[in-house]
């Protein structure tokens, strides 16, 4: 894992001092809320319906046990004893007092963490594959590139007042576990003629105008990664729309210019930017990469798993994934217990996961965009005690990628922009499909809920998506089918008229029943949908 050196620490410490000073001026009434707002937003502090919310960055979703314990400490000391892991691999605290914020940032800085650029119209936390460094199918670990981008984008003087927020994801496997093409820039490290380079997909996003990022360049030499990114952003900063916040994302610029024209402008800008010498030398990449390199894992570790306990066996089949080193596995911890709030974890649970990581997973944890936690490097022989510990803490729900592994935004329970509640709908759906056998029979089914058109809950990218809308003052839910945020990326289509809270649960059941009657061998829900189309589902829902 990356460790701060004196420079990194200095940057974060300076930020803590700066924000402490700004809060002091605000509390003393020297600056107005209006003047304070952009400053607090740069530090991840939002005003929600009931209190301040603080969003803490977990760069590319990677953290160690010490950092994870600090997250528990903050939940315990400054919040209501829990935190909420988000679709951008971060964590949010919903009940923060303004006067505590500087102390929280100082606590975070003591473990090499921060809330820098977790909001505002700047380059946000870089996201990545939660199985990076462990996945059997990866070309290389994408995180050193993500860290290089993190440093380059931190306090970037030219790109801190962009037309709109800007999200970058980096992956290095064919399987896309980071919804890469739904980011403003999605970078995939690829191989050509034996060398590695970066494929640039630019202009994806969700929100009210969802778009899948088109390929802008298939192979950017890695020595040019920052220059090329800088060129992509400079064109956007200069020409992205600023007249209408809903048209300000880079996807709209590219849509209006056309992909070829945007590419041409980026190439021109790149030819110039490359001459400025902003790309660090290979030695800097190597310095970063060396810190992600682990002690070699013992490939002779036993590969067999004792499956005597049937509940354990079910969990292994559902939540444990293949590791690149034999005798090892990737453990996915579900934060979606039956009836729980997707992504929430108590401080005791966070501490427990930290303990398990320290003891069994080379001190590493990951946060996933599906709002779950990963122990990336576990010996198969340790799976049973890990499962026992998780099970005792209500963290062993065997539902990874099943219908109850729901992504849901905070919705009307917390969010001032919401049209409808998301959390209770997620809970009702999970209850309806509570039978584990039924869930497993339905197989991979990604269900995602947003409480309004901003799409924080990725509803466009759900195999089944739910969108909360406001219909004549009452909460109403639209149903979408056929989206995907993975390598088979697609956007969902609205089925038709919306439903009330119970109606949407019934409608989903009709959809899944239809799937069961239509599917052929081995077909996932989304495969069947793609084969048979919307009509039979519509028929099943609306009669």
């Amino acid at each position: 894992m990356y460790k701060y050196d004196e420079y990194d620490q200095q940057m974060v410490d300076a930020r803590v001092a700066e924000f402490a000073d700004q809060v002091k001026r605000r509390l003393a009434g020297e600056i107005t809320e209006d003047q304070f707002k952009p400053l607090r937003l740069m530090n991840g502090l939002y005003l929600q319906l009931h209190a301040y919310m603080l969003r803490v960055a977990v760069p590319y979703g990677t953290l160690d046990s010490r950092q994870m314990r600090m997250l528990a400490h903050i939940a315990r000391k400054y919040d209501r004893d829990y935190g909420h892991f988000t679709t951008r691999q971060n964590i949010q605290y919903n009940w923060i007092k303004l006067e505590d914020a500087p102390a929280i940032l100082a606590d975070l800085a003591s473990v090499e963490m921060h809330a820098i650029q977790t909001s505002g119209n700047c380059i946000r936390n870089i996201s990545s594959d939660q199985w990076a460094g462990a996945a059997a199918d990866e070309l290389t670990d994408p995180r050193p590139w993500a860290e290089l981008l993190r440093q380059w984008s931190s306090f970037h003087p030219e790109f801190s007042y962009l037309p709109r927020k800007f999200k970058i994801a980096v992956i290095a496997a064919e399987e896309d576990r980071a919804a890469m093409r739904l980011h403003d820039i999605g970078i995939q490290i690829v191989e050509k003629d034996g060398g590695h380079g970066a494929a640039f997909y630019v202009g994806g996003g969700m929100g009210r105008t969802p778009m899948i990022a088109p390929l802008i360049k298939d192979f950017v030499p890695l020595d040019d990664l920052l220059s090329y990114t800088e060129a992509c952003l400079r064109v956007y900063n200069r020409y992205g729309r600023r007249d209408n916040i809903y048209k300000a994302r880079i996807k709209i610029l590219i849509h209006e210019l056309g992909v070829d024209e945007y590419r041409r402008q980026v190439e021109d800008e790149f030819a110039h930017v490359k001459s400025l010498g902003i790309d660090p030398p290979k030695a800097e990449f190597d310095r970063i990469a060396a810190q992600f390199a682990m002690q070699p894992l013992d490939a002779s570790a036993p590969d067999v798993i004792d499956r005597t306990d049937p509940d354990f066996a079910v969990w292994v089949d559902q939540n444990v994934a293949a590791h690149k080193v034999s005798g090892h596995a990737i453990v996915n911890i579900s934060l979606k217990p039956l009836g729980g709030i997707p992504g929430d974890a108590s401080s005791a649970q966070i501490d427990l996961m930290a303990d398990l990581a320290e003891r069994y997973s080379h001190d590493e944890l990951r946060v996933t965009h599906a709002q779950n936690i990963v122990l990336p490097h576990v010996r198969k022989a340790d799976l049973f005690p890990i499962w026992q510990a998780l099970d005792a803490a209500d963290l062993a729900t065997p539902n990874l990628d099943l219908i109850s592994d729901i992504i849901a935004c905070p919705g009307l329970d917390y969010c001032s922009l919401a049209n409808a509640r998301s959390i209770p709908v997620a809970q009702k759906i999970a209850q309806r499909f509570a039978d584990p056998l039924r869930q497993r029979d339905l197989g991979e089914l990604k269900l995602k809920i947003s409480g309004c058109i901003n799409a924080c809950g990725h509803h466009h990218a759900g195999h089944i998506g739910i969108l909360g809308v406001d219909r004549k003052g009452t909460e109403n839910y639209q149903l979408l089918l056929g989206g995907s945020g993975a390598e088979d990326v697609s956007l969902g289509t609205i089925t038709g008229p919306g439903f009330d809270e119970d109606g949407i649960v019934d409608a989903i059941e009709r959809v899944t029943d239809k799937y069961l009657s239509e599917r052929t061998d081995g077909e996932r829900f989304v495969d069947t949908y793609r084969r048979v189309g919307m009509a039979p589902f519509k028929e099943a829902i609306y009669g």
Binding site: E18, P157, S160
Partner: protein, 137 residues
């Protein structure tokens, strides 16, 4: 460091359009939606370029500043408009060396905000040595 506002007797800036129509003015004002590159052929005879920041959220001027410095402009580069304390550091890094803020900036606050950041991660237009270079000598 200097925060010079419009000095008495200074030549007023002309608009970009006026300048491009054969003006021999030495001071020009660039609105936030105007292309800084239009000035590149004339940089050696310009003494002052004033870049407009109509709202602090409008960050186009940061690119304009860097583009002008990258093209070799050595005259005065002024940020004018809704310029706030916490932006001055970024503006300086983008090559601005004078500030005409519509707000009353307290020079002590400006100095404190700026001196808080001893080093920078990335290269920009202020000649600062980026952290990666400090790391590798």
């Amino acid at each position: 460091m200097v925060e010079h506002l419009q000095a008495d007797g200074e030549e007023p800036c002309v608009t970009l359009d006026a300048f491009l129509e054969q003006s021999n003015a030495t001071a020009v004002r660039l609105e936030s939606d105007e292309d800084a590159r239009a000035l590149i052929p004339f940089l050696d005879r310009l003494k002052l370029i004033e870049v407009a920041f109509p709202k602090f959220r409008d960050g186009r001027g940061y690119s304009s500043g860097r583009i002008l410095r990258e093209a070799g402009f050595t005259g005065e580069l002024r940020a004018q408009g809704d310029v706030l304390v916490d932006q001055i550091g970024y503006l300086k890094r983008c090559g601005f060396d004078s500030f005409a803020s519509e707000k009353d900036l307290n020079p002590a606050d400006v100095e404190a905000a700026w001196s808080r950041w001893p080093e920078h991660y990335q290269g920009a237009a202020d000649g600062a040595v980026p952290i990666w270079k400090l790391r590798h000598g």
